[in-house]
Symmetry: C2
Subunit: 354 residues, 2 copies
Amino acid sequence: MGGDAGPGMVVGGAALARERHPNLRFLLFGDEAKINPLLSRYRALRDVVEVRHTDDVVKSTDRPSQALRQGRQSSMRLAINAVADGEAGGVVSAGNTGALMAMSKIALKSMPGIDRPAICGFLPTLRGESVMLDLGANVDCDQENLVQFAIMGAAFARTILGLPRPTVGLLNVGEEEMKGNEAVKGAAAVLNKANLPLRFHGFVEGDDIAKGTTDVVVTDGFSGNVALKTMEGTAKLFTQFLRTAFGQSFLSKLGYMLAKPAMMALRDRVDPRHHNGGVFLGLNGVSVKSHGGMDDVGFATAIGLAVDMVADDLIGRITADMAEFSHHDVGPNDGVAVDGVTDDDDEARGRAIA
Amino acid sequence: MGGDAGPGMVVGGAALARERHPNLRFLLFGDEAKINPLLSRYRALRDVVEVRHTDDVVKSTDRPSQALRQGRQSSMRLAINAVADGEAGGVVSAGNTGALMAMSKIALKSMPGIDRPAICGFLPTLRGESVMLDLGANVDCDQENLVQFAIMGAAFARTILGLPRPTVGLLNVGEEEMKGNEAVKGAAAVLNKANLPLRFHGFVEGDDIAKGTTDVVVTDGFSGNVALKTMEGTAKLFTQFLRTAFGQSFLSKLGYMLAKPAMMALRDRVDPRHHNGGVFLGLNGVSVKSHGGMDDVGFATAIGLAVDMVADDLIGRITADMAEFSHHDVGPNDGVAVDGVTDDDDEARGRAIA
C-alpha cells in the first residue's frame, strides 16, 4: 500500500520481477478492493499471487513508535510477520521507512553482534556500482556501529556484487588520519587492525562516492542520507540543465536527435530505478525498502535485490563474518546459531510485499 | 603559495580579478623568486602589487595546531595579519584549509555572539545559486552553532546575493519535525520562534540543495562537507558519462558538434570555478578559501567574493543581526562595537593573498 504510486506500482513491479525470476511467488498485503482489479491486468501473476486483505495501513506521516503500537494489523506489519514466520523469503515495501525499519527490527530481530541495523543501497559510480551504508537508519553512530556497518557492507558487496574481497572506505571530511569526529577515527583504528574479508582503504570523501574509489562506503545515517539525496538532486539538476541546453536552438535540437541513442544509454546508466532498493542489513531476515517515488521498474529492482539476498544467503554470510570478527578481534565467539528466513526450502521462498 | 597550481594560479587569478575590479590592489605573500618572474607576464598588475617575501610556507599536510605554532612567518599567516592590521580588506588563500581557519580565528577573532566560525559557499541550483554552511569547519555542531550559522548565512545571502529576506533551510534526513538529531531539532525550534531578517523554511533534505528549495542551507561541517563533495563528484560522474555517450558513434559525435554551443553554456553554468570560494563567516575580517584544485579563473572568483564582502560590509551586517538576535531572543545586547577590516578608507582596501 506504500509509495507515491501505491498498489499499482507494487503489482506492476511484481509482474516485471516475475519475468526475470520465473519461480517467484508473492504474498500481497493490503486492500483487496484496490489490489484485485490491478491483478486482472497481469494474468501471468494470478497463479503466483496470494492477496491477504487488511484495511489497516501505516501512513507516511506515522511515527515509527505509533506504527509499532497501532499498526499490528497493517499491511506492512503483516508482510514483515510473513518473513519472521518463514512464509516468505523477504519483504519489500515502498512505505514509511521509519516504520518499516522499526517493525522489521521488532519482528526479525537484530543479528548477533549487531547493535543497530543499517540501510544499505547501491550508487552508480565511474567504475560501475558501489554499496553505501547507513543511508538513514541511525542519525547518531559510534565507532562500533561504523565497524559493524563495514562488516555488513563488505558481506553485501561480496554476495550481491560478487567481489571476493571488496574495498571499504569510511566517509570523512578529509583523507588525513587526524580528520573527522571521534566515531570515524575510532572505527578506522579498529578496521586497520581487524582481520576481515575486506580491504580497508581508510577515509574517503564525498567525491569518492561517485568516483567509485571503494566498493563499499561506510558512514552514519545522517551523512549517508544527505549524500544519497544530494546525489539524486545533483543528477536531476544535471538532467534539467541538459534538457535546457538541448532545447536552446534548432541545431542543438538536431544534435540531440542524432545523439539520442547514446543519450538514452546514459540515462539508463544513471537511472535511479536501476539502483533502487534500500536493504535493512543486520536483521535475521530480508527486508527491502523501495524508494517512495519509484514506478514499476524501480519496484521490480527492489524485489530483485531481495531475491538475490535470499538466493545467496547474505544473512548467513554476515552472521559468519560477525562471529569470526568477534572471535578474533573483540572477544570469544558467542556461538549463537542463526536460522533466519533463508532456509533451504525453495518452495517457501515467496516474497511478502506490503 | 597554496593550491595545486601554486603561485602561477594566484598571480593569474589576481590579474583576472583586477580586470573586473579596476581599483583592486594586492599584497602577495610568498617566495619572491617564484612570484616575481610570474608578475613579469602580467604588466597591468605590476603597479598594484606589492610582494612581501617570506621563505616560510604552511604545507597542505600540516596540522592546524602545528601551523599555528611554527607558521608565524608563513605566507598564510602574514597575509592574515595584514587583514588584522587593517593593511588589507581581506585575505584569499588556496592553501591548507584547517590552517587558514585556525590562523584566521586567532588573528581576526570571532565576532561577538559567534561561538564557532563556519565555512560558507555557493552551490549551483535549478533556481540559480544557493548558499550553504558549514562546509567543513566544525565536524560536531550543537543547536546554538546551527542557529548562528543560519543568521550568518542569511546575512551573506542578503549581502552577496542581494536577497532582502532569504529563505533558510536546516539540512536533515527528512522534513518531518520528529526527524534528525538533537542539534537540528533544537535549532529548528529556536529559528521557528526567532525574529530575524530571514524566512525559516524548516528542514530540507539533500536533494533540496540542488533544487534550490531555500536560498540558504544550514548544516554541521561534517554533513556540509560530505554534501558539497558529493555534488562535485556527481557532477564529474555525469560529465564523464556524457563524454562517453557523445563519443559512442559517428552520429552521436556529429550530434555533439551541433549541440556544442548549448553544451558549452551548460558547462559554464555548472562550472565549479564560477562557484569557487569558501568564506570563513563569523570572524572580524574577510578570509576566503579558494579550492585547492582551482585555476586562475576559479581563484579570481574567490577574490571577487572577498571584494564583494568588503564592499557590502558583510561583517557589519552579521554583527548587527547577531546583536539584534541576542537582544530579542537570548539576552541583553552586549553592546560590543566591532570595527573589523571594513573601515571607510577605500585606499586601505587591498587584498592580501597567501
